[in-house]
């Protein structure tokens, strides 16, 4: 892991610590409060704060997870080198696209 990847993983961990907490707390609050899926979507629809929050969440996760997965794979398998790095870039893009698509779908269903 280069110092840049190390710093990127630590910085995104800071964002994720807050984002995951907010995400879980909001989910539990909304469901226990008796809101239906339709009522939740009515609140998220067009809410730019909601979109910005989840876009940041998704970007942080898409950077954080592949760096960690790369380390795990390097330690537990013999996979090394450029093919591993390219696979992790692909994994990053996959999370990014799927995550942003989901966040945008809830913002504008």
């Amino acid at each position: 892991m280069t110092p840049m990847l190390y710093l990127a993983q630590r910085a995104t961990a800071l964002i994720l610590a807050v984002a995951v907490s907010v995400h879980l707390a909001t989910m539990i609050y909304a469901v226990r409060g008796g809101l239906s899926a339709g009522e939740i979507l009515a609140r998220t629809n067009g809410n730019r704060w909601f979109l910005a929050f989840y876009a940041l969440f998704v970007v942080a996760a898409s950077i954080h997870a592949p760096i960690g997965l790369r380390s795990v794979l390097r330690e537990w398998t013999s996979w090394r080198g450029r093919s591993l790095d390219l696979a992790m870039v692909a994994f990053c893009l996959l999370i990014l696209v799927l995550g942003l698509r989901a966040a945008f779908a809830v913002y504008r269903p």
Binding site: M1, T2, P3, M4, L7, S71, R74, E75, W76
Partner: protein, 250 residues
């Protein structure tokens, strides 16, 4: 020459120790010996007694016997230790000692390992003083209270015994990992204000084999017989390499 084991009397009623000793190289097995318990005997005393009294073909390594040279480390009952300063009474389990060569290094024979990869990594980590192309014009005043001096002092007493290297999980997962001892040495040099090779050193300790691969399990710190804390030295290197990024390095 160590004569203590043969001149010191056996403890009355002390019984025998059962000692399981690794024999062979990477492939091999345990051979069992029985040795008398003696007052204040160390694990190294036991190995020496076996080699001198029972089986002269047993290979092991020691030199100073007083915790200075770092050559006698073994895995004793599952934990890496300096055997010359480890008393049997501290570590025996129901009269049983199991002795193995250090982990993460190739076994030459029985309890002796090849230390070459360990010292190669000291070189790879730039664990040597770099005076620069030109000799210094003057003495560098270093106050004992200077923060850099204190950081260097905290890690400087390493005796290169390989205990931390044997204890490190990351070395066992990634054979290229430089390991706690080499990184600890690099950190003492990062804090040497006279050294002119910092940029190359910080580059050398970065990357997949370097300080950023440390999981902070702290096994090195737990087992270091000198009470050093390589984990904190490695954390220092992480900070120093991060600062280097801001200065334009990679």
């Amino acid at each position: 020459m160590n004569t203590r084991t043969s001149t010191e009397t056996a403890l009355p009623g002390g019984g025998d120790l059962t000692v399981r000793v690794w024999r062979g190289a990477e492939a091999g097995g345990f051979q069992e010996f029985a040795t008398p318990r003696r007052a204040n005997q160390t694990v190294l005393d036991v190995v020496t007694e076996i080699q001198r009294e029972q089986d002269p073909s047993l290979a092991y390594r020691f030199a100073c016997r007083v915790g200075m040279c770092g050559s006698c480390a073994l895995v004793v009952n599952g934990s890496p230790r300096w055997t010359c300063r480890t008393r049997v009474a501290q570590v025996e389990e129901n009269g049983l000692l199991t002795l193995e060569p250090l982990r993460n290094l190739p076994v030459v024979k029985d309890l002796a390992v090849e230390m070459e990869p360990f010292f190669q990594k000291w070189t790879q980590a730039h664990g040597y003083f770099e005076p620069g192309a030109e000799p210094a014009a003057d003495f560098a005043p270093v106050a004992p209270s200077a923060p850099e001096r204190q950081e260097a002092d905290a890690g400087i007493e390493c005796i290169n015994c390989g205990v931390c290297y044997s204890a490190c999980d990351v070395v066992s997962w990634n054979p290229d990992y430089l390991g706690p001892a080499a990184l600890n040495r690099a950190w003492t040099l990062v804090n040497d204000v006279r050294d002119q090779g910092q940029d190359a050193r910080l580059a050398a300790v970065s990357g997949d084999a370097g300080c950023h691969s440390c999981h902070s399990h702290m096994s090195c710190t737990e087992y270091c017989p000198k009470g050093l804390a390589p984990t904190f030295s490695i954390a220092g290197l992480k900070r120093a390499t991060a600062k280097r990024i801001w200065r334009g390095g990679r």
